[in-house]
């Protein structure tokens, strides 16, 4: 009961934050992207955390979502909300297509295969100029502001939509984790052969996880496109900009936990922004270098993520409480 109250308090506090930030300012933009990346990392967490398959290719589905809604809006004037559903369907389909051949791969092999799939999508988006505009990218056209058209003058509504998306994706993650599917995935994670013997249809469960994860992140691709307004293949299908970044957020926060991606996003995204602000003017590459050093340090210090800091704190508190 206490935990639910605490959770509700956190959500309310986060919901109030956009009202305090300057609606035309820089920080509300950072805040919106933080929420969006937290949701993306949470969607990744279904495959990367629950099914224990480290995907380095989730940009493939994310980019599909961004391009589907924007192309539908540009060519047919279809509202991005509907475009988001179409993108989600296509993203889920793409996840199925790549999951079928790669599903039995594990660990490093799976990471490599998904990495290559993301690159395939990036190359296609760069070459298929008539549809995607090629390397020049796409601009989301301006339409009169309204909720139905997913167009707003200020960033505040975008922040709330991103927050709602984070709550929904986190809820889906928790429902899966606590439900029968979560138990099946954990059984596969611990011992695939034993899971098969006790009657878990391992193929089916892994495919389900991949499709849910792919569809969710594709839908978030639409939200990203609407906030960013302009994007190109190398951004939305990028290895470093999307695939590695979202996996990193989940890993630094703590893989396989609902709080992990949120902690990770609130650490990494603002940190990146601050470093870009402070260091980019000094020398190219410095902020990314610092970022890499922090990443290595966190992994050496906490190979299982930041979330373990709370565990050891709690253990220490309860020990000192008992004595």
């Amino acid at each position: 009961m206490k935990r639910w109250l605490a959770l509700a308090a956190v959500i309310v506090a986060v919901a109030l934050l956009p009202l305090l930030l300057d609606p035309r300012g820089y920080w509300i933009r950072v805040f919106t992207f933080t929420l969006l990346f937290a949701a993306m990392a949470q969607a990744w967490n279904i495959v990367g955390g629950l099914a224990n398959q480290t995907s380095l290719g989730h940009a493939a589905f994310f980019g599909i979502g961004a391009y589907t809604s924007t192309v539908l809006l540009l060519k047919f004037g279809i509202s991005p909300w509907l475009g988001m559903l179409a993108g989600g369907a296509l993203g889920g389909l793409a996840a199925l297509v790549i999951a079928i051949p790669t599903m039995r791969l594990q660990g490093h092999y799976f990471a490599l295969a998904t990495l290559a799939f993301g690159e395939v999508m990036r190359v296609i988006a760069n070459v298929w100029t008539s549809l995607t505009g090629g390397p020049g990218g796409l601009s989301v056209p301006f339409v009169p502001p309204s909720l139905a058209a997913y167009s707003f003058k200020l960033l505040r509504p975008h922040a709330y939509i991103a927050l709602a998306a984070l709550v929904v994706v986190t809820a889906i993650f928790e429902i899966i984790r606590r439900g029968a599917m979560g138990y099946r995935l954990r059984a596969i994670k611990q011992n695939p052969a034993a899971a098969e013997v006790i009657g878990v249809d391992t193929t089916r469960v892994k495919l389900q996880a991949a499709v849910i994860s792919g569809a969710l992140i594709a839908m978030l691709g639409t939200l990203y496109a609407q906030v960013a307004v302009f994007f190109d293949p190398d951004t939305v299908f990028g290895i470093a900009s999307i695939s590695i970044r979202i996996a990193l957020i989940a890993i630094i926060g703590g893989v396989g936990t609902a709080a992990g991606p949120i902690l990770g996003a609130f650490f990494i995204i603002p940190l990146e922004e601050v470093m870009n602000d402070l260091l980019s003017s000094r020398a190219a590459g410095l902020s990314q270098l610092v970022f890499g050093v922090i990443l290595i340090s966190v992994i050496l210090w906490r190979p299982r993520g930041f979330i373990t800091v709370f565990d050891s704190l709690r253990a220490r508190l309860s020990r000192s409480g008992a004595s």
């Binding site: 490093h108 092999y109 295969a113 690159e119 190219a284 290595i296 050496l300 190979p303």
Partner: protein, 286 residues
């Protein structure tokens, strides 16, 4: 005839691919770690050779042992200080440690040397031999010959030297190797340093026909993985077959597809091989 020419070019380029990828497969074979930062050592090797050429007037091909030594030293420290700590950690931690290393090296070189493209000029750069109707590019041929020499040296080292045998023993069974008095931590350092050294060596020998800049390693990442996966991750002989195949595939696909799609063919081959035969085409049952 252009078909035969493409195969010849592919084989020559592929020999170099084999050497730069052997390091990746060696590290995996001995420690079970996929080093995502491996291609960055190619960048290090290329920069070392470029500076040796620019300041010492050394031909990049002769600077290759220097590139090897620089990367070997860096690799030794990286293994001892960083990789050794995650050997028993979950695979996500291993993957992201080397990803972090990739980010650090790529941006470190950017910070130190700037983003401009650098190339060398050599006397043999534009010369080619004619062999009947075929042409053999001299820089390709030299790079191939150097790679071959390096591969033979490695083969001798792994087969005949005590270190090589100790390293193979460590790969097969670390616990048993320790019981036989082998310092496995030392072997891991040796394997990692040797692996990244080979990749840097390959970087130096391609410098006459590839320009160097901080992101150049990124161009080779998927290529190197394709090579090792084709040959079977962990198999050194497989990497040679994989390297030659990738060279030929790349060269042939440039006959039929526009240049932008060249890598696409490679990626698709890569995913198909992983899906159908993850143990590699050669299928060494390591």
């Amino acid at each position: 005839m252009s078909f035969l020419q493409a195969i010849l070019d592919g084989l020559l380029i592929g020999g170099v691919y084999a050497v730069i990828s052997i390091g990746l497969t060696l590290v995996y074979g001995v420690m079970g770690i996929v080093n995502f930062a491996q291609a960055e050592f190619l960048t290090i090797g290329m920069f070392t050779a470029w500076f040796a050429w620019a300041f010492l007037g050394l031909d990049p091909v002769l600077a290759a042992p220097l590139s090897f030594a620089v990367a070997f030293a860096i690799g030794w420290v990286v293994q001892g200080q960083l990789i050794a700590r995650v050997l028993s950690a979950p695979s996500v931690a291993q993957i992201f440690l080397t990803v972090g290393l990739l980010i650090v090296i790529e941006n470190g070189t950017l910070l130190l040397f700037g983003s401009q493209f650098r190339s060398v000029t050599t006397s043999y750069q534009t010369i080619s031999l004619s062999l009947g109707p075929l042409f053999i590019s001299i820089p390709y041929l030299i790079a191939f010959a150097m790679s071959l020499a390096c591969g033979v040296a490695l083969w001798w080292f792994m087969r005949a030297s005590w270190f090589g045998r100790a390293m193979r023993a460590t790969a097969q069974n670390p616990a048993a190797a320790r019981l036989m008095g082998i310092d496995t931590a030392l072997m891991y350092k040796m394997a990692f340093a040797l692996g990244v050294g080979l990749t840097a060596f390959g970087g130096a020998v391609i410098l006459p026909y590839v320009t160097v800049y901080p992101g150049v390693g990124g161009q080779f990442v998927v290529l190197m993985f394709t090579v090792v996966v084709l040959g079977g991750l962990g198999s050194v002989a497989g990497a040679v077959v994989g390297g030659l195949s990738v060279g030929v595939i790349q060269s042939l696909s440039s006959l039929f597809f526009p240049i932008q799609l060249q890598n696409l063919v490679l990626f698709i081959v890569f995913i198909l091989v992983l899906a159908v035969r993850p143990q590699g085409l050669v299928g060494a049952s390591r």
